[in-house]
C-alpha cells in the first residue's frame, strides 16, 4: 500500500510550562511512500522522525495535514483501524507472556467476522515465527531471549496480521554492533519476502544507506531530501544532508568562485561553471587524489593505514574543522615523512553550497 503524507504538522505544548509557545516536532511535511518499498526516515535525534512514525501509526494525531493509505484518508482513524504493524524501539514485548502468546496476541483481539479459529491463529503465528526464524523459541519468555531474538519476536508480532504497512522505530539501536549488521540484513530479507511497505526510523546513516530502497532525510521537523541512498549521497541538496551522510564525514571548506575557478585557500583547485561568489566546498573523503602536481596543498599530519585503504590526515587554513580526512588506496599513499601533501580533486565528489542558504549550487 502506498502512503501519502500531505502537509503534516505536529505541535506539542512546551514541557516547560512557563513557555507558552508550542514545540513544532514536524513542520509542513509532505511525502509519498511508494508501495512495497523499504524506506528509512533518517535524521539526528530530536528531528521529529519518531513523531512522524507515530502519526503514520495513528498513536499521535497530526495538528494539521492529512495522511492517506492508498486512496483512503486515515487521518482521523484510530491505530487499530489503520491496519499497521508497529515495532517499538524497546520492542514492548509482554514480559509475562511466552513468545507464542506474544505473537498470538494481535490475532486474539480480532472479533466479529474477523474472528479466527484456534487452528488458523496457531498456523499464522507459526508462519510469522518461521519468517523471522524464531520458531524454536516459541515457549520461552522474552526475558530468556537475546536482544536480537526479542527484536525478531517484535517483528513477528507486528507482521502476524499481515498489515498493509510495517513501521519500525529505531529497530537496531538496542543491539550490539555485530548483531546490528546481522539484523539489518534480516530486516531487508523479511521485507523482500513479504513485500510489505516498510518505514523505519533511524539516526544511523550507514544503516539507512545499506538496506533501504529510499531514504528520507529530516532536520528539525522539516523535509530535507528523499531518494535512493546513492542519489542522496551523490547529490545532496544542502550542506546538512551532505554532512549527515557518509562516514568518514564530508570535508567542508570555506571557499569562493572566481573566474570559473573554485578557490580554496587562494589556490585554484577545480574548474567550475558558475558565477563568482563565496561558497562552501564540501569534498567527500574519497574525492581526493594524491598527486605531486595537484593544485591543492595541505599540511600533512599523519597517515592511518586501514588495510586496503589509507586515510590521509591533513590541515588547510580554509577547512571548517580540525583535520581533513581523505581516503586513498594504499599504493597512492604519500610519503609520511613529508610536510605537505598535494591533491587533485574528483569533480563528482566536490559539492558547492551557497554560503548563506547552504543550498546546493550545481556547477
Amino acid at each position: 500500500m502506498n502512503v501519502t503524507l500531505s502537509h503534516l504538522t505536529k505541535k506539542f505544548p512546551n514541557r516547560n510550562k512557563k513557555i507558552k509557545d508550542d514545540v513544532t516536532a514536524v513542520n509542513d511535511f509532505s511525502m509519498e511512500i511508494p508501495d512495497g518499498m523499504l524506506v528509512a526516515l533518517l535524521g539526528p535525534s530530536g528531528c521529529g522522525k519518531s513523531t512522524m512514525l507515530n502519526m503514520i501509526s495513528g498513536l499521535e494525531k497530526p495538528t494539521e495535514g492529512k495522511i492517506f493509505f492508498g486512496e483512503d484518508d486515515v487521518t482521523g482513524l484510530s491505530p487499530e483501524k489503520r491496519g499497521v504493524g508497529l515495532v517499538f524501539q524497546n520492542y514492548a514485548l509482554y514480559p509475562h507472556l511466552t513468545v507464542r502468546q506474544n505473537i498470538l496476541f494481535p490475532l486474539e483481539n480480532l472479533k466479529g467476522k474477523d474472528k479466527l479459529s484456534k487452528e488458523v491463529m496457531e498456523e499464522k503465528a507459526i508462519e510469522a515465527a518461521k519468517l523471522v526464524q524464531i520458531e524454536e523459541y516459541m515457549q520461552r519468555k522474552p526475558g530468556e531471549l537475546s536482544g536480537g531474538q526479542q527484536q525478531r519476536v517484535a517483528i513477528a508480532r507486528a507482521l502476524v496480521k499481515m498489515p498493509g504497512i510495517l513501521l519500525l522505530d529505531e529497530p537496531l539501536s538496542n543491539l550490539d554492533a555485530r548483531l546490528r549488521l546481522q539484523t539489518r540484513e534480516e530486516l531487508r530479507r523479511i521485507q523482500r519476502e513479504t513485500g510489505i511497505t516498510t518505514v523505519f526510523v533511524t539516526h544511523d546513516q550507514e544503516e539507512a544507506m545499506s538496506i533501504s530502497d529510499m531514504i528520507v532525510v529530516m532536520k528539525d521537523g522539516l523535509f530535507m531530501q528523499k531518494g535512493k541512498p546513492q542519489e542522496v549521497y551523490d547529490v545532496p541538496v544542502n550542506l546538512f544532508v551532505a554532512k549527515f551522510l557518509g562516514t568518514p564525514a564530508i570535508n567542508v571548506f570555506k571557499a569562493f568562485v572566481k573566474d570559473k575557478k573554485l578557490m580554496i585557500n587562494d589556490e585554484a583547485v577545480l574548474d567550475v561553471n558558475t558565477s563568482d561568489r563565496d561558497v562552501y566546498a564540501a569534498i567527500r573523503p574519497e574525492g581526493f587524489i594524491v598527486d605531486e602536481n595537484g593544485p591543492m596543498t595541505c599540511k600533512l599530519k599523519r597517515i592511518e593505514i586501514m588495510g586496503r585503504d589509507t586515510s590521509v590526515l591533513s590541515e588547510n587554513p580554509a577547512f571548517e574543522g580540525t583535520v581533513i580526512r581523505s581516503i586513498v588506496s594504499s599504493e597512492d599513499a604519500p610519503d609520511p615523512d613529508k610536510d605537505t601533501v598535494h591533491f587533485s580533486l574528483k569533480p563528482g565528489k566536490v559539492h558547492l553550497f551557497d554560503i548563506e542558504s547552504e543550498e546546493r549550487i550545481d556547477y
Binding site: S57, G58, L59, S78, P79, E80, K81, V84, G85, L86, F88, N90, A92, Y94, P95, H96, L97, F105, P106, N109, L110, K111, K141, G143, R157, K161
Partner: protein, 296 residues
C-alpha cells in the same frame, strides 16, 4: 584473606549485637516462657515444663473469641481493601486534571493518627443519650430503626470494625498501586492499542499481570497486618475488648501481660506463638500461590 573475612563481621557487629539483645533473645525467651508451667511473675519461678499453657489458651473462651474476630477481620478486610484500592488507583491513573490533588486526599488518612480516626468513627456510629450518631440519622431516613454499632449486636460491631480497618489500610495500598500502575511502560499500552485490544482485555492481560507482584506484596503484608490488629479495635471499642467481645489475638496477648486479668507471661507467650504459627502458615501459602502466578 582471612583478615578480610573477619573485617566484614566486625563491621556487622553493632547491628548483630543490637539484634541479638532486642530480637533474638526475646524470641527465644517467648518460646521458653510458653513451655514453663505455673510461672510466677513475682518470684520468677515455675513448677514444671510442658504444653499446659497452650492447652489453657486454646480452651480459653476469650482466646477463641479473639481468634474468631481476627479471622473475620482478615478474611473480610484484606480482599476488600485491596480490591477497592485497585479500583481507586485505576481511576486515579486514568484522570488527568486534579490528579495530584486526589492522590493527596486519598493519602491523608495514612498520616492521620489511628486514635483520632477512631474518635471520628465513634462520632459517626455511636449511640448516646442525646444523639444516635450520623450514620443512624441516615438509616432513619430510609425508615429503619437505629442500630447501636458500638455497644450493640455483634454483626453491627464487626461491620464498623471492618469498615474502619479497610478505611485505615487503604491509603498505603492506593499509594503502592498508583505507583505500580504508573510504572507500567506506555509502550505496552501503545502496542496493545495498535493491535486493537479492547480495554477490558488490556486490563486483564497486560495491566493486571504487570502489577501482580505489587498486588501479591499488598495481600501478603495485608494478611500479616490484619492478623496483628489491635490498636484499631482499641480506638473504637476502648481498652476492655473482652467485655465488648471484639478482642483480637494481639489484644489477648496484651491482656494476658498487662490487662486487668494480666500477669501471665506464659499464656501470653503461648498465644503469640499460636499467632506466629498461623501467620507463618498463611504467608507460606501466599508465597506459594504468588510464585505460581508472578513469573517474570
Amino acid at each position: 584473606m582471612s583478615y578480610n573475612k573477619y573485617k566484614g563481621w566486625l563491621y556487622l557487629l553493632p547491628a548483630i549485637l543490637f539484634l541479638a539483645v532486642f530480637m533474638i533473645y526475646p524470641l527465644i525467651d517467648v518460646v521458653v516462657y510458653s513451655f514453663e508451667e505455673g510461672y510466677n511473675f513475682a518470684s520468677q519461678s515455675f513448677m514444671g515444663v510442658g504444653t499446659y499453657n497452650f492447652s489453657y489458651v486454646l480452651h480459653d473462651p476469650y482466646f477463641l473469641q479473639a481468634l474468631k474476630n481476627t479471622f473475620i477481620i482478615v478474611i473480610i478486610t484484606v480482599p476488600l481493601s485491596t480490591g477497592i484500592a485497585l479500583l481507586i488507583s485505576l481511576g486515579l491513573n486514568s484522570i488527568k486534571p486534579l490528579k495530584e490533588l486526589f492522590q493527596t486526599v486519598y493519602f491523608l488518612p495514612y498520616v492521620t493518627n489511628t486514635l483520632a480516626v477512631g474518635l471520628v468513627f465513634m462520632i459517626l456510629f455511636k449511640k448516646t443519650a442525646y444523639s444516635d450518631g450520623l450514620i443512624n440519622l441516615v438509616i432513619n431516613l430510609f425508615g429503619h430503626e437505629s442500630i447501636d454499632f458500638i455497644d450493640g449486636p455483634y454483626p453491627a460491631k464487626m461491620f464498623v470494625m471492618c469498615f474502619y480497618t479497610i478505611w485505615v489500610v487503604m491509603p498505603f495500598k492506593i499509594l503502592i498501586l498508583t505507583s505500580a500502575l504508573a510504572s507500567v511502560k506506555k509502550d505496552y499500552y501503545n502496542a496493545a492499542k495498535v493491535d486493537g485490544t479492547r480495554p477490558f482485555r488490556i486490563f486483564y492481560k497486560i495491566t493486571l499481570p504487570m502489577i501482580s507482584p505489587m498486588i501479591f506484596y499488598l495481600v501478603i503484608t495485608g494478611f500479616i497486618g490484619a492478623f496483628k490488629a489491635y490498636s484499631d479495635e482499641v480506638a473504637i471499642f476502648g481498652t476492655n475488648l473482652n467485655a465488648a467481645g471484639m478482642n483480637t489475638i494481639v489484644g489477648y496477648v496484651y491482656d494476658m501481660l498487662y490487662g486487668d486479668s494480666g500477669g501471665y507471661p506464659s499464656y501470653a507467650s503461648a498465644a503469640s506463638l499460636i499467632l506466629f504459627a498461623i501467620v507463618f502458615t498463611i504467608t507460606v501459602i501466599n508465597l506459594t500461590i504468588s510464585k505460581k502466578n508472578v513469573q517474570y
